[in-house]
Symmetry: C2
Subunit: 144 residues, 2 copies
């Protein structure tokens, strides 16, 4: 297995409503999208929206109601001010604020919002992680 | 907000055990990792492992037990044979097979496994999605 994450799929109650939410945030749907599924190029990884029941069926597991999903998605930005701006933008787009942006224990600054299905996004400024030219986070390499 | 997913964090019961699982699959931990958190470069997006209770606390939500998380992660490969090989490799590394690889309704071939915390990975061959030189999926652009 190559160490590579290709696609993250979020199970949603209403694909059209969820797609509209992400479009309000600036995501642009691939022409491969259809009423049952939406695909976004999320800058190095694909992000998909698919009916929650259909996704559970596809994965062959029971579609039981979640508590905490145990998964968070992060959008890293270049400054504290940009965190604040994106949090405001997300709430204006219909997100639910779950944690107002604040200094973090790891030396950064971040806040969280939930999308219409409760999927958690952290908007984060991490002063220790630079970006490449395409806006992707550059992690320090493996320890040698 | 730029249309960009920077980091996916999986809440796990035991960071060291989960890290060892992903290392058996070929992921290499960034030197930014420590006993509380592991970071992997997942080829265009970062993948983190963090204690589930700590992650819930960080996101300011209750750490209730999940049913179906509503999130799947996909690793796309270039052939059906490669799907089969990766599924075998994952099970040998300690994954639980949740759906044996088979032809899919969308014209591809995929199977699912669960990592030690139940996070679902789909290993997929999609004949309609090419890869770029870095192994990232190339989505068709937005409809014009």
């Amino acid at each position: 297995m190559q160490p590579r994450l290709s696609l993250v799929t979020l199970g949603v109650a209403d694909v059209a409503a969820s797609r509209a939410f992400y479009e309000r945030l600036g995501f642009k749907a691939s022409s491969d999208s259809n009423p049952n599924v939406t695909f976004f190029d999320a800058g190095g990884v694909a992000l998909a929206l698919f009916g929650r029941a259909a996704l559970a069926h596809d994965a062959s597991i029971e579609n039981s109601e979640p508590g905490f999903s145990g998964v968070t998605l992060a959008h890293n930005v270049a400054s504290e001010a940009e965190v604040d701006a994106v949090m405001l933008e997300a709430v204006a787009a219909g997100a639910q604020l779950t944690k107002p942006a604040a200094k973090t224990f790891w030396g950064g600054y971040s806040g969280y919002f939930a999308d219409p299905d409760g999927h958690l996004w952290e908007i984060a400024y991490n002063p220790f992680w630079p970006f490449d030219d395409a806006g992707r986070v550059i992690l320090p390499g493996p320890a040698t």
